[in-house]
Amino acid sequence: MARAVTPRRKLFFTVAAWSIALLIFFPVLWTILTSFKTEVSAVASPPELLGADWTLENYSDVWARSDYPRFFLNSVIISIGSTLLGLAIAIPAAWSMAFVPGKKTKDLLMWMLSTKMMPSAAVLIPMYLIFQRTGLFDTRIGLVLALMLMNLPVIVWMLYTYFKEIPAEILEAARMDGASLLNEVLYVLTPMAIPGIASTMLLNIILAWNEAFWTITLTTVNAAPLSAFIASFSAPQGLFYAKLSAASTMAIAPILIMGWFGQKQLVRGLTFGAVK
């Protein structure tokens, strides 16, 4: 950060970065805009912007038609629950793989990732039967477990890479001081790794929040999250793009807001004090 930054250079990069960001963001923006149009205006061609019929009706319709708070609550419980549980299990694993690597560590990492190799459609009925027989079908705990296990390899991987960035010298120093392994993790590593853990957490909350196959397949009423909420607004008979956009906006708004507040953690990631 100490490099001299000329205002012209900054201006150039600002313009370039914002142009690209807006380009990437545009479909999302368009969805949000569409959610405030009437159904007719939403599919008007050429597309309407300034002359569109703006309305809040889609939101009131969507709100009236389904029990949004219930879907929302399930999404919160399932995504946060599965992520926290996953972190609790993954942090020790990633730590030991990063700092006490064995000959098999890489194989183990790859094996973990390989548990995600089975296409979901192929195990649909096996999973369905397992969930039915164990009584986990349509329960929040069932989805918390499923999503935790689904994302566990990703959590371990991300934490592993973040931990790898922590300079070994710091650990050596801690060991010289006679810190036990557990203390090492608790008092040396964890504080340093907080940004990495936070960014892993946010990323996995998003992954779990957006999971739309198993969360719909393995639920009916009690545990159905926002993915099921959205599936109830997609493709009915008649125009639906504005309402689908409104439902989508309602589904992403909470996580977008969370991302907004968490974005410092999300991107600061590895700016460890010790490194700089």
Partner: protein, 437 residues
């Protein structure tokens, strides 16, 4: 939670049964997210007033997802649902497996004889009504009257395919973004194959002969595919191979499709000024024929059924009786007008002068009555079903065939190649499934 609360409230509202409401039965109802079903969810106060001891939990999903979830549940005996919304394709197949509860013993005020005969026939297996129709549909032609007038043509109420071809040619104005005809092109047994199968019925073609031998190598199918591809490539919107029901409805509402053959239920959207600025210019006609005695119109009914695995069959029957009774039609009419009543299930609805005054009422009932699921084709066939063949293998097979045909529409295969591939594939699948010995 909210629903319990609402149920209690409405129970208390009628006064008498406040304490009885505690001992309630909960039923889980799975429905598609179509407008008529959504409307029903808004009218539940009436049900709770009449059945204070029953609480309904909804699972509302789009058609594809709903079908997947409900099929998984019923085939594995999951017992998650007490009432499921299924179509005329599922009923005969599931009925044969004994997965559905008979509805013959619904109370007398259900008036089973009031059901439209073709619909009732499609939902009855071995004399048992296995699903109660919530709304029924056929397919017909909708077109823009102003464009027909401008082109100087009239589309007869009972058209032939020649009339349709001429009209499509006359109304097409590519420069202005007006396409003469829109038909489903998106691959899928319920998308392009629904249209093509009904078109085949009217051309004298059939899926299988009496010995389950696939018939794509016959000249009738060649005529069907040739005309279909020609109609859409000449007069259809570019990219038609990716247009399904929703895409074509949107194009029709925007006035870009001068003519379209599709489900009768879209009539209520097409005539709704809130959805289309051409609402007052829409004309309707029966699906066309070739003078062979069969029209290109299908028959479908979204119906409510009770899986055998349900543990609340009595409460479920009470719900089905409420939702598909004549009184329900009157209830909808009293709240939102007759146009909003679920169409295509009951004779009495079409005898009602207020309803039959609607612009699409007569053609809808005529279309439905022109379809015969037990005798769908010109030549004899071993199957029931109009735009489908009611065997479990059909959905998979027809989707694969649909992909081949969509490639023909996109110009990636010739009609001959597509038909040869479809024939080979069907023979293989039907042999594997044991139909062809």
């Amino acid at each position: 939670m909210t629903l319990t609360f609402r149920a209690l409230l409405s129970a208390c509202a009628v006064g008498a049964l406040c304490s009885a409401a505690v001992a309630e039965t909960t039923i889980t109802v799975a429905t598609v997210n179509n407008g008529d079903m959504v409307r029903m969810q808004g009218l539940m106060d009436d049900f709770y007033a009449k059945n204070p001891d029953i609480k309904v939990e909804w699972v509302t999903l789009e058609e594809n997802v709903l079908r997947q979830n409900v099929t998984n549940d019923i085939a594995t005996g999951g017992g998650q649902y007490d009432v499921v919304t299924i179509g005329t394709y599922e009923v005969p197949i599931w009925g044969k497996q004994g997965w559905l509860e008979s509805l013959n013993d619904l109370p007398a005020d259900y008036d089973i004889d009031d059901l439209l005969p073709p619909i009732r026939a499609g939902l009855t297996v071995d004399g048992n009504l296995l699903a109660s129709p919530f709304y029924g549909e056929s397919s017909f032609v909708n077109y823009r009257k102003d464009l027909a007038e401008k082109a100087g043509i009239t589309i007869p109420d009972v058209p032939t395919w020649d009339d349709i071809k001429k009209a499509a040619a006359a109304m097409t104005d590519t420069e202005a973004g007006i396409y003469g005809i829109c038909l489903r092109g998106k691959a899928g047994w319920g998308e392009n194959m629904a249209i093509l199968t009904t078109m085949a019925n009217s051309y004298g073609a059939r899926w299988f002969d009496e010995n389950w031998k696939p018939q794509f190598d016959q000249p009738e199918w060649k005529a069907v595919m040739t005309d279909y591809v020609e109609l859409l490539t000449k007069y259809g919107p570019p990219g038609a191979s990716n247009n399904g029901y929703n895409e074509n409805l949107t194009l029709s509402l925007q006035g870009k499709c001068a003519m379209r053959m599709d489900a009768t239920v879209s009539a209520s959207s097409l005539t709704d000024p809130k959805q289309s600025e051409f609402a007052d210019k829409v004309g309707f006609a029966l699906a066309p024929d070739m003078g062979l005695g069969k029209r290109a119109n299908w028959l479908w009914a979204w119906s409510l059924a009770i899986p055998s695995s349900s543990d609340a069959k009595d409460a479920s029957k009470a719900f089905i009786n409420w939702a598909t009774n004549k009184d329900y039609l009157a209830l909808v009419a009293s709240k939102e007008g007759w146009a909003a009543a679920p169409p295509g299930t009951r004779t009495s609805l079409y005898a009602n002068p207020e309803y039959s005054a609607l612009p699409f009422a007569k053609l809808t009932i005529d279309s439905i009555n022109a379809a015969d699921p037990t005798n769908p084709t010109v030549k004899p066939v071993p199957y029931v079903g109009v735009q489908f063949v009611a065997i479990p293998e059909f959905a998979g097979l027809a989707t694969s065939v649909g992909e081949i045909f969509s490639a023909a529409l996109a110009g990636q295969k010739t009609v001959d190649e597509a038909l040869a591939e479809a024939q080979a594939l069907s023979v293989e699948e039907m042999t594997a499934a044991g139909y062809i010995k």
